[in-house]
Symmetry: D3
Subunit: 247 residues, 6 copies
């Protein structure tokens, strides 16, 4: 299948990190195509930035419509995920949702490790939207300015491991998620230093996309993920975001 | 004060309804300015449509930045409300949030009356985002296609009253919200036919905006509603949405 | 309108603090009348003391019945608020409820600063009664004996600011409430020292009372805030608390 | 031990019903003393009426202070229960709390049968205050005016059994509580007609009072049930309610 | 990989149904081995029956220890799932957990269709254990005696489709789970008759087992899924259940 | 009545501790019979160990069926409690459930003191199963290896008191439960050193068993605690666990 992975921020270096991890885990017959947001910010930490990312991701989803069998929103916090699930007729997965659903099968209480203090409120609301707040052991975070989202792993690797250990020892986490696209692939590298399983959002989302594609769920014509009712619209390019509302 | 009221859907007839109700309730020294989304759909019922509305509202907020003392997002479901609250340095209110916070001071259990079945999932998630799901008695809704969002009140007035009564008698609502901008002003008209208080999103939001403006809260420099950290951005018009991230 | 503000504790100095803040925020056409409990304790920290305050407030509400257009219960914890809302045919507001509903429109997670350790359990239950526990970032409190409820602001001002900062930095509060009538007006004074908005219970409640009065909700004849069913009663002075049950 | 049972409403016929059931279940060495509120209403259905009942119960608790080893608040909804628990140095039990804690050991989901529609909101809030809302299968209620609270069992016995059956079949209750002092003793009579265990508030509370008395818990000097801090008070008869605050 | 699928009830016909569905969905390199409980009941509907099933599943897990790379507990309700996850050093999946985590990526509110009324309480508690009760739209169930668990699909197919439709139309489900091993494979057959995606526990669990195996999480040495601390034990066959505690 | 107390772990020294405390509190006409698990582990700390304990307890319940009027599962965490409640026609109580329901009548927020870090996850899930997580102030625990479960009180008494104090001062507990059968009787000894009531699981459960026996609830024939529907079974000794399913 063709899996379109959309990085909703504008940093190509992060897209590269995501692609590398996605390719490591994908099945042989999964063809991965990457896209980077044409508008937005360098990395997403807040609700407003997520709105920009969601809009950019929807634009890409419209532009490439018909050329993918599944789509992954590749930012933790899942900007646009539920929104796109309403209008696309292929499976749509997100890093947070996929990581939670995967981690939830490894342990009862889930710890999240994040790249900044500011990002934690948005993550917490995202976990809440999925009804999984009761499973959250806590969110721990880096607390220094980020030089470059593409090099967070190198710049802050040791501290991220330390935070992971605190999440286990002080928050009672059974399983950890290293959150945020800038951390794509890190779980693989640090697993040996930790005492509980570590989940990566990108590889979780690739696997879950493959699972959804394999199970071939029908597209809903009822419920809250059926395509929105037809109605007048303006100002939405038919070659882009508008195409998602066409019938 | 200057209150900018943004209708995030594209239907001028709905903007007119909103304006009429806003003017009926506003203080003499509140100057109301209306805006209608330049892109989007005729009325918002789903998460994806709300994303379009949020983006359009943010665009207007950027374009008119500096010309208003408070901003109201005038669609039930509050598209873009929390997002704009992060980037604006004036109070931002929404119809759902304001209606819930107002109704919550009239009764413990709140019933919502909605204009379509499809819209209810989005409303429910919105109530949940504000942590008020425990106060929700239920959401009842019209179940017939809407001819025109501007004439829902005339077309379906009797049925809306009937749904309101069911919310009291069967769901145990202490207070009702007639939800959705297309119902702006209806509460005033039907109050006499009902046995519990009825709250209107537009008039609630005008009053709450005036209250916030009067209390003059400082703009946060910490917490999750401080302005997002400065970082590279592209593709965001500085005359519009990009201006909201400028410093 | 005539707004009757009832201090449910017996300390006139606190009544004075409340009045001062109320007058600073009230509209020109709001006439404020103050009342102090004729029985009860110096300040309310516990459930039992709140029962005494609620009864005293109800007595005043009965004695002055017909002479006010709205009533404010002016103790954080809202003794008697929901009870009076059942029997009065004018809007009734409370400091906790009004502060929560106002603060909730400034940020998602709300921190409360309290004047004693003992008071926190009662506050927490009050927040819970309004279904807002999920919005509570935490309650921080002074931990030294109070010399006099009227001088808490002078005696403990610096510590209250320090607690406020901890609520933001350690509990993740987006917005703060300085709780308790003895702190009336303090928010105004310390706002400049803090990094998030600070809400005052008295000024919130005055604004919310004015809003409710302006919206003119009908008095319920159904739901749990309709007047209690007529039934035999004894021992309730018709010139006071008993008048509230008369028809 | 001496168990003081306080009926917080003013109807002696209900006191008689309570006493009869209490005597049927009490141990031989439990001496039961009854008291009826000197002020208040014929039966309690609302928050305001419960405030009156709580005050009346506290008055009795003060007047007879020193003459009982445990106290039962004998109205479903437990007016004054948590309040009195703060100030008394003997165990205090309530019909709702005791019934829930007892029924909770017979089944997971608890159905409540109530005597009027109006009373259900107050009951629901009471269950919520004890954190047991997640265990509540539902509340079903009579829907006709009550002639006399003392004769509800005779007047509406068949309907109460019918409601009980619906609670099992439609709400999924594992166990039932026949709620309200006017139903004291009914569980005994109708158990044979029902398919799940039926719990009576009075007999539950007698047993729980005996249990608490037997376990001899120390009186707290910390936590939220320690005696309130000493402070000035006025208008509280030292021979009655004021005695509860004396040291 | 070798996937051991354990049917915790004693009915070989159900094992056959499970195997058929598992083989339809499994990857080519997944080798499936089936096992049926040697003790227990014909189908599991209650907590006590689930205890028997959990014990039987653990016995099989011990007897075949070392011969599988992942284990699936193949009864909805997941008897023994969390328990086995503590003691096995390979991934362990369950039908309910896997179905919920999969369905949760297709829609927000999940409806469950069950084979008997009695089974629903156990299912509900299972959903609750995973913290997903807030996502549950409802559980609908057959209400007639089951002739034979192996033929439920043939005997009650039309009614199951009808219940599915009610779950969408009346409970607001976005996605459905046909629950219970006796319904294995049915989703495939009836998808075309329904308006929302339908999830099957067996195929979900096979895919999730493959995902977990592919992600190769480390085995925890901390948290609540580390192997239990070494301690004396008796009466647990070392060739069976006792082997799971050996080190 | 005859009360069968089942220790689901294999350590006779713990059985002795339980018996001593049970006898101290039981009524004169309660005859206590003790049983110790014939298979399982030295003390139960995890979900898997609890499964072993539940099975062993059920086996004893079957073997001695007909010889007891009530049964107590005497391990904190209540292994097998809800399961046995389905199949026995006499009251069944558990140490956690009884302690929570008893403590819940002494204070609003309950602190639990546990004997190991590992055990806390299981306890927390048990509290959650009873819907009482909202009442939990926290769980504090010993953090050193246990020499012998029978001597925890002597070995760690001072530390347990220290943890109890922290639960009051730092977690805000109103009441404490000293959890785990190895701590049976300790509450009695340390009450004088603490500032809030302390509840013991064994004595609570004895009292609650006596209460249930006295109230004589009918055995359910509906709801989720009716006896499981008759169905084929194999491998369950009719002289033991199988007898519980016989009719």
């Amino acid at each position: 299948m063709n899996l379109l992975i959309v990085n909703p921020n504008i940093t190509p270096g992060v897209t590269t990190l995501i692609e590398a991890e996605a390719c490591r885990v994908a099945h042989a017959d999964t063809h991965i195509e990457m896209a980077t947001a044409a508008s937005g910010v360098a990395y997403i930490e807040t609700r407003f930035e997520a709105l920009l990312g969601a809009y950019a991701a929807a634009t890409i989803a419209g532009e490439r419509y018909g050329r993918y069998d599944a789509l992954m929103v590749a930012a933790f916090g899942d900007p646009g995920l539920l929104e796109l699930r309403e209008v696309l007729d292929v499976p749509v997965v997100g890093m947070t949702e996929a990581a939670l659903m995967t981690a939830g099968q490894m342990g009862q209480r889930i710890g999240i490790i994040a790249i900044s203090r500011r990002i934690t409120a948005w993550y917490r609301e995202c976990v809440d939207r999925y009804g999984m707040l009761g499973r959250l052991a806590g969110i721990r975070h880096l607390d220094r300015p980020l030089r470059d989202p593409s090099t967070v792993q190198q710049d802050h690797g040791a501290r991220l491991v330390e935070l992971s250990r605190e999440a286990v020892e002080q928050d009672g986490a059974d399983v950890l998620i290293l959150a945020g696209a800038p951390l794509a692939g890190l779980a693989r590298g640090v697993a040996g230093e930790l005492s509980v399983p570590v989940v990566d959002g990108v590889s979780s989302a690739v696997c879950q996309a493959e699972t959804l594609a394999r199970l071939k769920p029908i597209q809903p014509t009822a419920g809250s993920f059926a395509k929105p009712p037809a109605k007048p619209r303006v100002g939405l390019p038919e070659s882009g975001i508008g195409r998602l509302l066409a019938r």
